[in-house]
Symmetry: C2
Subunit: 218 residues, 2 copies
DNA sequence: CGCCTGAATGATTTATTGAAGATTCACTGG
DNA sequence: CCAGTGAATCTTCAATAAATCATTCAGGCG
């Protein structure tokens, strides 16, 4: 006997294949149902609607990304500063690669994000929790002296907004984004007093790049 | 005899009235021409097209904003840090008020920004020049020790992207944006070492706010 | 009953077309 | 010539019709 969750899983599986291959808009509920050898009506016993199937798929992907970021955070013998830097770069790369090279993933993410605003916020909250962990660890090792770790994590997200879902905000190529994230991270780590160059001079080659064109997309 | 620039000015004047009152889309070239007592065809002897008229109007507005920001920068007896903070807040408020309360201005800005990507970049460059001035003054007074002032200005713009044209990126209400800009500015001024609280404890009341919902718009 | 079907419904998307308007240009009066 | 005209063109937009598809639900089967 098939339990409800197994069926749900099958539906998600089938829908994912279709969404990734043909795109969200070009996939019909009838097709998904047919792939699962059931009637379209029956899908609604497992999901409230098409959008919810897409959201479930995106949630899975979000959880996968969190898992990857946790790995990055676990790298041994790094300072909290390095860990924070690694984290922000890994985060940018994950979404960039995902959204840049797969039109269909992009479409699905776009639809879910715009129809279900809370979805993006849940992902951001997960992400913020990880950031908070890094900051708390930095406090513990006396690298940082941060009073309100959660608030500071939120501000870090704010300042790195541009790098979070790059395609939604700018049309910069990846290396430009990398250069800017590097510069911003240095400012965030060290403040303006040392000019954002970073105590470790990591920014040297990044600063060679020329100012970005096309900062804004609409 | 009417010189070419006078005619251009009249056209801009008439177009501005129409664009602000009826909106860009609802204004026809024939109407603008008629307001100037000329034929539609003749407009093209002064502007390459309708969009260029709108762009010229937006450029004027941008220069006006720069002038206002210069005033803010000139406030007497303030530290470079305070000046920077004032500047970023004033900048956010200028665009927010402009775009929030006038649907027609918003429409025009939207069209110009999306059809003429370089336009937004020119405005950003003007803005960056002002930021650089503030930073350079801070260096001169030994408040900052910034090697590459222009690069740092660019990074400041990057980190405050979210606050630059708020309506294009998020649907946060103004007080939420203010709270976040405050937090981000503190991080930028001081780095993580003091937790982004800011040496002057200016952030106290801002930190009372709850985390933002709806970070992202598409 | 409980699980599922598939036709009926109504919303949404796409295709088509007619009108409106941006742009061009051959021409005119000064 | 020069500044300007206004009808002709060609693009873009809006309205409507047609088709598609998400969703619902009255019923059938085990």
């Amino acid at each position: 006997m098939l339990c409800k969750d197994t069926v749900r899983g099958n539906i998600l599986e089938a829908a994912k294949k279709r969404f990734l291959h043909y795109g969200y808009a070009k996939t019909t509920m009838a097709e998904i149902a047919s792939d699962c050898s059931m009637s379209p009506g029956n899908l609604y016993r497992y999901f409230p609607g098409k959008l919810d199937i897409a959201e479930a798929i995106c949630t899975e992907a979000g959880e996968y990304a969190v898992a990857r970021l946790r790995e990055v955070m676990r790298r041994p013998s790094r300072t909290a500063r390095e860990r924070l830097r690694d984290f922000l770069f890994a985060d940018m790369k994950l979404t960039y690669d995902q959204l840049e090279y797969d039109k269909q993933v992009f479409e699905m993410a776009r639809v879910v994000a715009s129809e279900r605003p809370q979805f993006a916020n849940r992902i951001l909250a997960l992400n913020r929790a990880l950031l908070s962990e890094i900051l708390a660890a930095g406090n513990a090792s006396s690298e940082f002296f941060i009073e309100d770790v959660v608030f500071t994590a939120e501000m870090l997200q704010s300042a790195t907004m541009k790098f979070r879902y790059p395609q939604l905000h700018s049309k910069l190529p990846y290396e430009k984004l990398e250069r800017e994230l590097d510069g911003v991270v240095n400012l965030l780590l060290n403040g303006l007093d040392d000019g954002g160059a970073g105590k470790e001079q990591l920014a040297r080659q990044a600063q060679q790049g020329s100012p970005s064109d096309d900062l804004i997309t609409i």
